[in-house]
Subunit: 367 residues, 2 copies
């Protein structure tokens, strides 16, 4: 299948450091190539891939040495994609929403994976205006605020099998990995660890936007002897940082659309103690790969008995449900369905007579 | 003629306070309606116009009571424009560049007025990729950095004749109006005024980005007894603020693409002492409507003899060259030329066979 993957230009694919969307696009792209597909990746020129790379700019925008106008480069990327649209069987967008007016007028089947939270007020009128754009959610929970959009399916994120190694024998600490921000609630993680009299290692970055919150609410808590703050950790460090933990604490306080770190833990064989928000119940199987809790008392109880979870079972669950090969296969199934259905483009410009004819022809096919 | 004007959504049309592009779009729209055209204005819902207003959002983005996602609303506006494209004879964009991929595939004749500075490195590759998009510059000077773009013409900004009144009898002060920022060089204006022993009244806002510059470099200069800082002034105040001045000082230090305040002064009959940068030589007729200078000594000499300029002549020059009726008539001429030429859309998506056929048919017509 001739597949186009369209990635954001903010970070390279894969990203040098943080960049959840770009990481997932990378895993998906490599898995599709491995499964024999003819994949073209639209991404920044410093991306690394076995697919055909098409870049409108040499470096990712966030770390570009000169000040760049993001809108210009995203516009150029869309131009590049749509100029080549006829050469693909399917175009898969991971780039927010600016492509909708073009995509909706394009006959090449396409879909858009929405990677962010969808409970933002502007997204309702937007998707009401593009009711036929095929969308993919990264969890069922994510799509709740937009029930009427044209959901083609939910595809959970997946990781390469060899990215993280199984760690059968934990050391005596809990791990917290992510950003220090109000919705991630590292303060809860600290409280849980102290209640369990267990060391907490924190591998987390602080975004500029969260600096005040960090200084006022979090840094004082780092004084406790059980708490170690180790700054931002990279993918390589993460393997042992998470893998050697007795559990990953994930006490979030917001509708997390997915939560990659939860499946990273699972890949290491590490159980997760997670609050019931967003995608958590879809990812963490309660009492099997961790515990899904609703308050601090439940979280502390769960963390105390977390050694009852079979780490081997966590890894097996990961391999079955959250590998990038599984993700790619699920997407290919979706691609086939969308190609089979056909995409009837919206009428465009002064060509309305031409288009409405071809559109109505297509509309008679089963939608 | 059925004309669409597509304005930015950041400010209303006309803007409540600052917003050069939105002001010009308003003047143009009203003048086109007055000349009997059927005009549709795409702008925020709090815009005020005699044209048909099409709004995707109730209020302008900058002053919107809730936090809004600008990309969503600009995307929705483009969808609205292109859905209705077939019902216009011409579509006139004033909205930066994100519409190029759509516009280049649209058969309805269209053009884009670029309102900003063009000496930014990203604009070269962008316009190289869209070599056939018809562009309008707001001065000949503005287009120098992009010589190879598809320039349809230069159209200077214009103001309604009754917006500013002729002020025959000046009071004894110079005026400075604009932003306090390094490229506007209010420090030069202060030096000129002091050298002429003439009062300087400053009506200017300070953007957050220029706050440090203002505090460190400019505020100390305001201590001089000849200098009065009166904050930001609105359109109504401007009439007398500029009109009663002996001269407007415009000692800019950057390639100003137009400089609306220079024609506002001219409309009041006020001569302008301006540095030779950007559009200045196209707007200020040396020794007739003011003086075009290259250094402080020339500026001071010019300011000293500025009463030799005939204020009535300034006003007449404005009425002949810089009225919104003149601007509208010049644009209509351009519209007619573009409609006559026809627009051959770029190939789009899987319809390439269809499109390339119709495109080549059109390409045989005189380009």
């Amino acid at each position: 299948m001739r597949i186009a993957q369209v990635a954001p230009l903010i970070e390279s694919v894969p990203p040098v450091r943080y960049g959840g969307t770009e990481r997932v696009v990378s895993y998906l792209t490599e898995a599709l190539v491995a499964q024999g597909h003819d994949v073209t990746l639209f991404a920044s020129g410093d991306s690394v891939t076995t697919a055909d790379l098409v870049s409108v700019i040499d470096r990712a925008l966030r770390l570009h040495p000169r000040r760049v106008d993001a809108q210009v480069w995203h516009t150029l990327q869309l131009e590049e994609v749509f100029e080549r649209a006829a050469s693909f069987d399917i175009i898969h967008f991971h780039v927010d929403v600016a492509h909708y007016p073009l995509a909706s007028r394009c006959k090449t089947p396409h879909l858009t994976t929405l990677h962010g939270r969808l409970d933002l007020p502007d997204l309702m009128p937007l998707h009401a205006r593009f009711p036929r754009e095929p969308l993919v959610s990264i969890s069922d929970a994510q799509r709740v605020p937009l029930p009427d959009a044209n959901w083609a399916g939910t595809v959970h994120h997946g990781l390469p099998l060899d990215l993280y190694q199984f760690h059968p024998d934990p050391q005596d600490y809990f791990a917290f990995v992510g950003r220090i921000s109000p919705e991630k609630r590292v303060d809860r993680a600290i409280e849980i660890a102290i209640a369990c009299n267990t060391r907490l290692r924190i591998g987390a970055k602080v975004d500029p936007a969260d600096q005040v919150y960090f200084e006022q609410h979090i840094r004082p808590l780092f004084g406790h002897p059980l708490v170690t703050y180790e700054g931002e950790i990279d993918d390589r460090q993460k393997n042992d940082f998470i893998g050697n933990a007795r559990a990953l604490l994930f006490p979030i306080d917001w509708p997390e659309p997915f939560g990659l770190v939860a499946i990273e833990a699972m890949a290491c064989g590490v159980p997760v103690v997670a609050y019931r928000h967003g995608a958590v119940p879809e990812i963490v199987s309660h009492a099997q790969t961790g515990y899904v809790v609703s308050n601090q008392q439940q979280a502390i109880d769960a963390a105390r008995r977390v050694d009852r979870i079979d780490r081997r079972r966590c890894r097996r669950h990961f391999e079955r449900r959250f590998s990038s090969a599984t993700m790619a296969a699920t997407y290919v199934e979706l691609y086939r369905r969308l190609i089979g259905t056909g995409t009837a483009p919206a009428p465009f410009c002064a060509e309305s007579s031409l288009h409405s004819q071809s559109a109505s022809t297509q509309e008679e096919e089963p939608a």
